[in-house]
């Protein structure tokens, strides 16, 4: 693997390999000395054109636990008109000798542009681009599901037969897109539930089903219910009338949560809007994986950095 730009390009084998390495990384995290020497002497740059403290510190922890040197580069405001271009930034990082670049960018496709432009030799990890993909989030979601389903027997397995319901603002969600490609590749069945305004106009090519009625979808007894963050500002674009109606119709409120079997996993990529898309009781229940997702995020990102940066990178170039 030269870059990790999306989950769409990942085969089942590649995804399982990455998740298995993440299991090894998770095992290291149980030890007293959590640090591995694997990436000693390598430099990883966290290039964030968008604020995201959570994702940045997760990547930072992952790189440091692999003994890489980490540089945090916050470059908010990226367009040509606003100052330094993506190209100039990339060439700066190249001159500084970056081996890996973790990029978060508000424009869909920016990581691909960075990886294929020829401006930089580093391995590129997409840490979220616009409304396109957020592959490490989907991988940590898959990792979390696999652990809950299979526990210590997780290695080598996919998510065959698991039924996953993803609820909320699919249109603007890179997490939903990355999960919509990855989870079916691992054998899961994925259903997206959203108001029609928050689904893309045409999802026929996605390996998922879609519906509008949350109660009907919950009635089909999914194994996993993943709630997406909804931005209250969306009501200004007339995507829905107001946050109360949204919460009433598409929120995981107490009544809906109480009706679920206690084996149903409740997931959220964070940060949560409690009381909007998810009620506090659901978020804080034992069924909630929210804190596991954060912990697993470090292991999955360690695995991604390990696959990209250890070994003979750039030998073909």
């Amino acid at each position: 693997m030269n870059h990790l730009l999306g989950t769409r390009e990942l085969s089942r084998e590649q995804a399982v390999e990455l998740l298995d390495i993440a299991e090894d990384m998770a095992a290291v995290q149980e030890r007293e000395v959590k640090k591995l020497p694997t990436l000693r002497g390598k430099t990883v740059v966290n290039l964030f054109f968008e604020d995201s403290t959570r994702t940045r510190i997760s990547f930072e922890a992952a790189a440091k636990r692999l003994s890489a040197d980490v540089i945090n580069f916050s470059a908010k405001g990226s367009s040509v008109s606003k100052g330094e271009s993506l190209k100039d930034t990339a060439q700066t990082l190249q001159a500084m000798g970056a081996d890996g670049v973790v990029i978060r960018h508000p424009a869909s496709g920016a990581p691909l542009t960075l990886a294929t432009s020829g401006w930089i030799d580093a391995g590129v990890v997409n840490a979220g681009d616009g409304t396109h993909e957020h592959p490490t989030q989907a991988l940590l979601d898959a990792f979390t599901m696999r652990r809950r389903l299979h526990g210590a027997a997780s290695r080598g397995r996919g998510l065959d037969g698991a039924r996953v319901l993803i609820v909320g603002d699919v249109l603007h969600s890179r997490v939903a897109r990355s999960n919509a490609w990855l989870l079916p590749a691992l054998g899961a069945e994925v259903e997206l539930v959203a108001p029609p305004t928050l689904l893309p106009v045409d999802t026929r090519r996605w390996p998922v089903t879609t519906s509008y009625d949350l109660d009907e979808a919950l009635g089909r007894r999914p194994d996993v219910v993943m709630m997406l963050r909804i931005q209250a500002e969306r009501m200004h674009g007339a995507f829905f009338p107001n946050s109360r109606e949204y919460a009433r119709t598409w929120g995981l409120d107490d009544a809906r949560f109480d009706a679920l079997p206690d084996t149903t996993m409740v997931m959220h990529p964070g940060p949560m809007n409690r009381g909007l898309e998810i009620a506090a009781r659901a978020a804080d229940s034992p069924q909630s994986t929210v804190r596991e997702q954060v912990a697993n995020g470090v292991s999955v990102r360690m695995a991604a950095l390990y696959l990209l940066l250890s070994g003979e990178r750039g030998a073909a170039a």
Partner: protein, 446 residues
């Protein structure tokens, strides 16, 4: 001193092979076995001669955006593509919304000498869509403006559009509408459909174009005015225009070469060279546009030549500029998409790339038949040439062509404007030389 050329053995659009003697800026003789009488002999064996191409939709960027293009460099690109006249869009800085600006553009075009520059006037002051620009003053100026457009922006206020359509009837004008409903396309980045959802790019729905065209043809019908629709890009738009024409509404329409060839699939690379307004659409749309050009529903091909500096076209998709250069490649793309499949012959090409655009724009001295005493505005095209479309084919200031690296048929060998060659055997002539020939031709006109 004016140039004299004897073109030997060129194939006319109707298939006939003739010699043409160009003298005094006109076709002085037409026949077979003509005597050169000291004129430069141009061997046109295997070449097609077409009336000089006329582009109803060019962005020359001067005044104001000279880092992208100037009247000189843009008309040089035009000559390289076989064009002898271009209609210059109004979105300059200052905007071409007064007689002063359009007369300046006219003068710059005459001085450069590569092609006739016919300014287009803005419909509204500053392209702001709020009040009418001085349409009459521009029409009565030396630039004799007949085409008015806010291109880049849609005249979306229905009352303002109605008034503009009505007002320009006084001097035989036409409103060239950039059909794009602004609210439906806020932040839009690419054609809305399956692919936009996958790529996470904000969708640009076909209905945003089609709804404006539907409204405008009804307005044109109501007030009995002439409407021209810029860069039609969807199958639905074609249906609306076909309906309007059948109803007798006075509407004409253009399609760009890139909408005849390229589909939205190119966007998957996030390469901003493929970012354009209106966006590249689906294969079904491309097919509908080709069919509409073949059956006359779409009247003309216009380039929407839109130069941008490198830095505006190499970053992330969202931050990159819309637009492609197209003058140098237009004839080859029409050849590839329409002539090779047998949907247009060379007479049709002369119609859609020269005669009809000159007629729609009411431009005298361009787009005529190739006949005795006609103005010597001609292009000689080698349809048998083929090769990779490379940077050496571009003659303007900007290089944002979507065709770089693609194989395209054909090659412009000679372009004649006002009787002199602007392109000689595939080479665009030096600016100083052309300016001198233009000055001589201008003084000969009196």
């Amino acid at each position: 001193m004016s140039e004299r050329h004897l073109i030997v053995g060129a194939q006319l659009p109707n298939g006939e092979r003739l010699d043409l003697l160009l003298e005094g800026g006109r076709i002085a003789e037409l026949g077979t076995g003509l005597d050169a009488r000291g004129a430069e002999r141009v061997d046109a064996e295997g070449l097609v001669v077409l009336p000089g191409l006329v582009d109803l939709h060019t962005h020359l960027r001067e005044p104001g955006y000279e880092q992208s293009e100037t009247v000189l460099t843009g008309t040089r690109a035009a000559a390289a593509g076989g064009f002898t006249a271009v209609f210059a869009m109004a979105n300059t800085s200052p905007v071409a919304d007064t007689a002063g600006v359009v007369e300046q553009e006219l003068s710059l075009g005459r001085a450069a000498g590569y092609a006739t520059v016919q300014p287009i006037g803005a419909v509204t002051v500053g392209l702001a869509g709020e009040r009418l620009a001085e349409l009459g003053a521009m029409a009565q100026s030396r630039a004799r403006v007949r085409v008015f457009s806010d291109d880049g922006f849609c005249v979306h206020d229905p009352l303002l559009m109605r008034r503009a359509l009505e007002y320009v009837k006084a001097f035989g004008g036409v409103i060239a509408q950039h059909a794009q409903e602004p609210r439906l396309t806020e932040g839009a980045q690419m054609n809305e459909g399956a692919l936009s959802g996958e790529l996470g790019l904000a969708g640009w729905p076909a209905v945003a174009e089609e709804s404006i065209i539907a409204r405008d043809v009804l307005l044109a019908e109501h007030v009995g005015s002439r409407l021209h629709v810029c860069h039609v890009s969807t199958a639905g738009s074609v249906e609306v225009i076909r309906w309007a024409k059948a109803r007798g509404i006075d509407v004409t329409a253009e399609v760009t070469p890139h909408h005849l060839l390229l589909t939205e699939d190119r966007v998957a690379s996030y390469d901003p060279r493929f970012k354009v307004n209106p966006p590249l659409r689906r294969a079904e749309d491309v097919e509908a546009l080709r069919a509409a050009l073949a059956d006359g529903t779409i009247d003309i091909v216009a380039t929407d030549h839109a130069p941008h500096p490198v830095e505006a076209k190499e970053g992330e998709w969202d931050a990159s500029a819309n637009g492609m250069v197209g003058l140098e490649s237009a004839l080859s793309v029409v050849h590839r998409t329409m002539v090779e499949p047998g949907r247009l012959d060379w007479a049709d090409v002369a119609r859609v790339l020269s005669q009809a655009p000159a007629r729609i724009g009411r431009l005298a001295g361009q787009g005529g038949a190739i006949e005795l005493d006609a103005p010597a505005e001609l292009v000689l095209y080698d349809p048998s040439a083929t090769g990779e479309f490379g940077l050496e084919r571009l003659a303007g200031r900007s290089t944002n062509s979507p065709y770089l690296g693609e194989t395209l048929p054909g090659s412009v060998r000679w372009t004649f404007h006002q009787g002199y060659a602007t392109v000689r055997d595939g080479e665009v002539r030096e600016a100083a030389e052309v300016a001198g020939l233009a000055a001589a031709a201008g003084s000969a006109d009196g």
